[in-house]
Subunit: 469 residues, 2 copies
Amino acid sequence: MARTHADLRIVLDRTPGTPLHVQLAGALRAMMRAGALPAGERLPSSRVFAADLGVSRTVVTEAYQQLYAEGWLEGRHGSGTYVAEIGPHPATDGLATGAGLGAGGKKEGPIGRGEARRRGLVDLRPGGSWVGDYDVAAWKRAWRAAGEHGPGDDPDPRGLPVLRALLCEHLRRARGVVAGPENVVVTRGTGNGLDLVAALLATGRRAGVEDPGYARARGIFAARGAETVPCPVDDDGIVVDGLPDDLAVLYTTPAHQYPLGGRLPIARRERLLEWARRTGAFIVEDDYDAEFRYDVAPLPALYGLDPARVILLGTLSKTLSPDPGIGWIVAAPETADRIAALRGALVDRTSVPVQHAMATLLERGDLDRHLRRMRLEYARRRALVVEILGDRVTGDTAGLHVMVPVARERLGPLAEAALARGVLVDDTRRHTLGEHDNHGLVLGYATATVQDLRRGCAVLAALLADGHG
Amino acid sequence: MARTHADLRIVLDRTPGTPLHVQLAGALRAMMRAGALPAGERLPSSRVFAADLGVSRTVVTEAYQQLYAEGWLEGRHGSGTYVAEIGPHPATDGLATGAGLGAGGKKEGPIGRGEARRRGLVDLRPGGSWVGDYDVAAWKRAWRAAGEHGPGDDPDPRGLPVLRALLCEHLRRARGVVAGPENVVVTRGTGNGLDLVAALLATGRRAGVEDPGYARARGIFAARGAETVPCPVDDDGIVVDGLPDDLAVLYTTPAHQYPLGGRLPIARRERLLEWARRTGAFIVEDDYDAEFRYDVAPLPALYGLDPARVILLGTLSKTLSPDPGIGWIVAAPETADRIAALRGALVDRTSVPVQHAMATLLERGDLDRHLRRMRLEYARRRALVVEILGDRVTGDTAGLHVMVPVARERLGPLAEAALARGVLVDDTRRHTLGEHDNHGLVLGYATATVQDLRRGCAVLAALLADGHG
């Protein structure tokens, strides 16, 4: 079985710049990434480790929690902490292409998801999340807890203070975001958050969107009277050079570009922020599936690099389910104030009992546990897709979808041939505004059963091998 | 005690135009209104009554249920059915002024409701509902029931079919609306419903709003890029003569004009619909507080007169609480289809667990029971306001607010004097776009305690007697 790694040689920098638990988590992450701490290895208990390092036990437990949340560790405090099997670790590591869907969006098309199910189709379109495995007791407990709070007459457009505080903790652990309740507005999801940003900043102005990019984002901007401007992306994400100077706001998915799947490199992040500061544009960071990363640790959110210029949008739609309708905006306090005032004026709000239920899930650690389970689930599913479709799959080892490059003119016949064999797919055409060469299938692996996923991928592999790609 | 009215001479018209239970409810309502069936009178049992009338027992129980829902009857089937004490029956009956707040809206102003509470102010601003008396067991049961349904991955933008069906029953009973689930979209409240209508119909076009009228409606239209056009109202409601011919949509509150409080007379309703048919405009009927009427029965919703041209907006914010966030749009099936498609595109939806909870409240009759209790509560509160402020109060005996006419130039000093004495009031200035003479205080009696309501009204009565009005 696992041996305990009793002697971890870690030196923590004790200058006050970075909290000790962040340093410790970073050091452990680096060792796991380098293979110095292989899967199955048992880490020292927090008590022993804290004594060895000469730090307080809290430093160790916080570092462990962060690494649990990111999926690096598994097991339980008390019974032992182990380096997790991180799932597939394909040779594509470091390559920056791939895929993900924004906004907790439900796929819309000729065939609805429910209808697809009734017709027995294998639905590989992105969107949604795997809801077949949730903690029934925790879910029931959360709604029971919601009922303990009587109905109020004055819902706060910012959201419940307790939930805002819990979301800050969650964001710190899962996304390296340092924010206080004054930075947070509890929304119903990414769509709601983007709509509020559009209404506040983009009406009658120009809003940049990624091309290819999340189609719904364009529609949400347009419905607020903004002119959307397509901005090119490549395998690394948004292309900063050539961004127009007259954008009021730029919508982007730096953690996992949708749909190509790249993760915006640090240098480009800095150039993007320089552009924003120079032109006065706000950057909307859609962090839709950033909790799901199966190889390297996710980069911290762009928001942390310039909280004054970046507005972060997050959602529980991917981590749990789109049904409850909970998301968040993280922004500078004055921006959060303006958004809250706008919500008041538009009578836009987040259901209060749902906020209570979600607070319970966060408070009790149920959401973290679910996230860890889902990370393993999705890592396995992604590995299955890669196993069947092989090198055709591009995009980072992250999120809930992959991209399979296919020439634009072949996409229509390929989708039709797949449908004739009972498999529904999505592709880049729907996510395209202008001309570009980044076309392909966008395959979601979250909502189908594993059996259907296997079947669907086999059908696509056969079609692609027959020259359909 | 009550004697049983064993001999009700009622003749039902047996032509197929109107269902028998509707005829029977109408006949009983007319007798109660005329005093032929005074408060406290006991009605025959449904078995006896059905035999006397020569109709099925269902006809009688359905008629009784309708009158229960409207607050005309009280008691329980089995133990006896009684004519209810309807509360105040002031001499203003028939006069058509008064007040009500749309959209389940939370009041916004320099002082929030929570802050007002903390500062010990008496808050007589309209908005919200009385949440101090709800059925704790029913509320808890509803959220427990919500937790019995696991999270889904594909929320329906129209809402849960079971809830749509239950809302149709509720609307038939409470508002005389005949609609099927295909007519209904479950929203989060009036604000959400109006926003969807605005996005669908009004972007880049002209939208009529009542003046004075619900301020938030203007803001919601404007945020969708519509030009709002003020349309005059008088004591009866919207003035049809002179409505422009180029409106895409007209927002109106025919059941209880906000804030003046008139109920649109039948003849004017018909002229309004003629105008809409002639010009092609859609009418948005905000039915925000129509369940609350304490004297005559409410007129059936305008929607019933022309389901193709009228879009009905309803909300649970007034009947229960704004916290859960449930409302509805009732419209022609093709309009409902277009709204549902738009919601899909904008990723706009209603929390699914909340829909399950609300379905439970409707299914078990909890909401009807709450409505009946609240009708008595608000009738008593309105009577208290009229008792203290006397003839100054105008508006129909309905809803959750009254209007007290005051010349525009006196409103500022009056509100300041009231605040200096610890009383927060709202007035028509905030609800005014152009020039008109219908100014006054708009006083909500739903959210304060009865003690505070009494205190606040006494302060206002003293100020008005001192010539502040």
